[in-house]
């Protein structure tokens, strides 16, 4: 992937992640339909944009990064969609205050994930970093066990 494209994608992911943090922070107790809309529509928009990115960007990436990028973007889009469904479902049961906490927690975590994805993409999209990152990725799941020795 050209560096300018990698930067564009990463910037989008990081800004979206930060925007979710802001939405989470500004969320008061959620009651009215309008308040719900302010939270729900950005989440829905995020999902749609991520889906679009998952369709476009992998095609522009090198063969050894294409699948990784597609899976990551699709997973994050799917995650976003599940959150959307989950929150919609919970609105039927949770009270105003509980709901606002739930929404805030989800958005904060998801925002962090998107920021991390943006940073990851910035490095992984560059050929010079990719073998290094993949090799670390293969060992990462074992560090706890190694630490126990």
């Amino acid at each position: 992937m050209r560096k300018s494209l990698a930067i564009m994608l990463s910037t989008y992911l990081i800004l979206t992640g930060l925007a979710l943090e802001v939405i989470a922070a500004m969320n008061g107790p959620i009651g009215s339909l309008a308040q719900r809309g302010r939270t729900v529509y950005p989440v829905l928009a995020c999902f749609l944009v991520l889906l679009l990115l998952a369709l476009v960007f992998p095609a522009l990436a090198e063969s050894d990064y294409r699948k990784v990028l597609r899976v990551m973007l699709l997973l994050s889009a799917l995650g976003m969609f599940l959150i959307y469904v989950f929150l919609g479902f919970m609105w039927m049961f949770a009270g105003r205050f509980a709901m606002s906490v739930l929404v805030a927690v989800f958005l904060v975590l998801y925002g962090i994930a998107l920021v991390m994805l943006g940073v990851f993409n910035y490095f992984a999209a560059q050929g010079g970093y990719r073998p290094f990152i993949y090799s670390m990725g293969r060992e990462l799941p074992y560090i706890y066990y190694r630490y126990r020795i």
């Binding site: 560059q126 010079g128 970093y129 073998p131 290094f132 090799s135 074992y142 066990y145 190694r146």
Partner: protein, 503 residues
């Protein structure tokens, strides 16, 4: 109790631990399965020639100074180091050009300047800016016991410079070379250090530039060959009251209620001790000598997760003349991209490439007494898969050796073939069976970042009390690394023995 401490293995690490403990007044027995001391840094004789089994380069001689000083002895009385000047010769595998690499950073910068003034300036800038940080880090890392998060933090606290410049060290080595240098010769020369450090340039960390710096601080060869190092250490062990038993393999570590209480030798004799120090690789130590039944599942999973560091073949040639060389070592030089592709073919696909001669070394260049009068010797290494695809090493090794010799003759040393009086080869399979090195890998375990420090087996076992580890599988390894790790394991074991004596 038969002994205060038993040390399994007389490699550089085991001898260092054993001698340090004996010098502190603990009754110490070092048991070694083979008939010579030294492990990877050992030696053997054949037809009047003395060859180094594996290691042939000594860096950081201060590790040896420290070791002997800790025993109250003088290093000069046990081993003499001869300085390599120039460091080595490079052969450009694409053009055939031969380049001498000098032993000082400034001269090397000048040598680089002959190809690119910009590269020379970058090299000077980098070494001036980061050299002292690398120097300090190497020193701190190699003298701080490892195994816990706080040990790792201690290293960073004692060397804050390494954190401040983390962005450099975390850059992949190949990318760092691309960012800093433009000329293929500079990249080829420095690219080699990545492989020597155990990983290809695309996967290695930028931190491996420390090898460049360390080698320019001084590269040595012992008088009498590499074997002079363990022989000197074994003599020191006996001088300070320790015992050494060769040809004495250990079959089991006696573990009772999660505590090591001695060992069982291969002939079935139990030998009890207050503490056990192991120089054997952590994988066979835990899985075979201790046994998975004494280990938590997480530890077994961790042990099985390690990837090997590179393995190699070493060919040993006795010659009827001293081959014409300008330095003791000749390294093959290729672009970082080529190194990567060779690496992945060999280690991911298991393809043996006999022509991948990376290092040619002549022990008799430094010390002619290692061959009969008028003769000389050579050894050459190829990086080689632990298990070759479609066969075993015992089936292919002689053919592999002959093809390697053809390569040597064609590229490195014309007509050397006509002078061979004796030849043999050691393969990864040989290193595995003779030294109990899993996969025959040369550095104990992978040199990747997530297999280092707190993520490498600790010097103090976390699951078996009274068991201490030293050597390649516990520390970023090399001969000095093993020597240092032995001293650190001895420090930890001393505390334990004192405690148990008092109890």
């Amino acid at each position: 109790m038969d002994y205060d401490v038993i040390v399994i293995g007389a490699g550089a690490g085991g001898l260092s631990a054993g001698a340090t403990l004996a010098s502190r007044g603990f009754s110490t027995l070092v048991v070694e399965q083979s008939g010579t001391v030294g492990g990877c840094a050992s030696y053997f004789e054949r037809d009047g020639f003395q060859f180094d089994v594996g290691a042939c380069i000594v860096e950081m001689p201060e590790a040896h100074e420290r070791f002997y000083a800790g025993l109250g002895l003088r290093r000069e009385d046990y081993v003499t180091f001869l300085r390599n000047d120039p460091l080595y010769e490079l052969i450009d595998m694409t053009t055939g050009e031969r380049i001498l690499v000098p032993s000082s950073l400034e001269e090397t910068a000048e040598m680089i300047g002959a190809y690119s003034a910009r590269d020379a300036a970058s090299f000077r800038w980098f070494m001036n800016k980061y050299g002292p940080v690398l120097d300090r880090f190497a020193d701190v890392l190699l003298t701080t016991p490892q195994g816990r998060a706080r040990d790792m933090l201690k290293v960073f606290a004692r060397c804050p410079g390494i954190i401040k410049s983390a962005h450099v060290w975390m850059t992949p080595y190949g990318k760092l070379l691309d960012d800093l240098f433009e000329h293929p010769v500079t990249k080829g020369m420095l690219g080699n250090y990545s492989v020597i450090g155990g990983l290809p340039p695309s996967v290695q960390v930028g931190l491996m530039m420390w090898l460049v710096y360390l080698e320019h601080r001084g590269m040595y060869y012992p008088e009498g060959g590499m074997g002079a190092i363990p022989r000197g250490m074994a003599r020191a062990l006996e001088d300070v009251g320790g015992e050494l038993a060769l040809d004495t393999p250990v079959r089991r570590v006696i573990v009772d209620r999660h505590r090591a209480r001695g060992v069982v030798l291969a002939d079935g004799t139990p030998v009890t001790a207050r503490a056990v120090v192991s120089n054997a690789n952590a994988l066979p130590l835990y899985m075979d000598l201790v046994g998975p039944e004494h280990l938590p599942g997480a530890v077994v999973k961790g042990l099985k997760s390690y990837r090997p560091s590179p393995s190699c073949t070493v060919a040993y040639l006795g010659l009827d003349y001293q081959p014409p060389m300008r330095a003791q070592h000749i390294f093959a030089m290729a672009s970082p991209e080529l190194l990567d592709s060779f690496w992945f073919s060999i280690f991911e696909n298991g393809i043996p490439i006999p022509q991948s001669v990376g290092l040619v070394t002549s022990p008799t260049f430094m010390d002619p007494s290692m061959a009969p009068p008028g003769c000389g010797s050579l050894a050459f290494m190829t990086v080689a898969p632990p298990r070759p695809a479609g066969g075993s090493w015992s089936e292919i090794k002689w053919d592999y050796l002959d093809k390697g010799i053809d390569m040597l003759d064609a590229v490195f040393m014309p007509r050397v073939k006509d002078h061979i009086v004796t030849k043999t080869i050691a393969t990864p399979e040989d290193f595995e069976t003779r030294l109990s090195l899993p996969w025959g890998n040369i550095y104990g375990f992978s040199m990747s970042m997530l297999s280092q420090m707190a993520f490498r087996p600790g010097n103090r076992s976390r699951c078996v009390k009274g068991l201490f580890l030293c050597g390649g599988s516990t520390h970023t390894c090399s001969v000095p690394g093993a020597v240092n790790s032995g001293v650190m394991a001895a420090d930890l074991a001393s505390e334990e023995i004192e405690r148990r004596r008092a109890a």
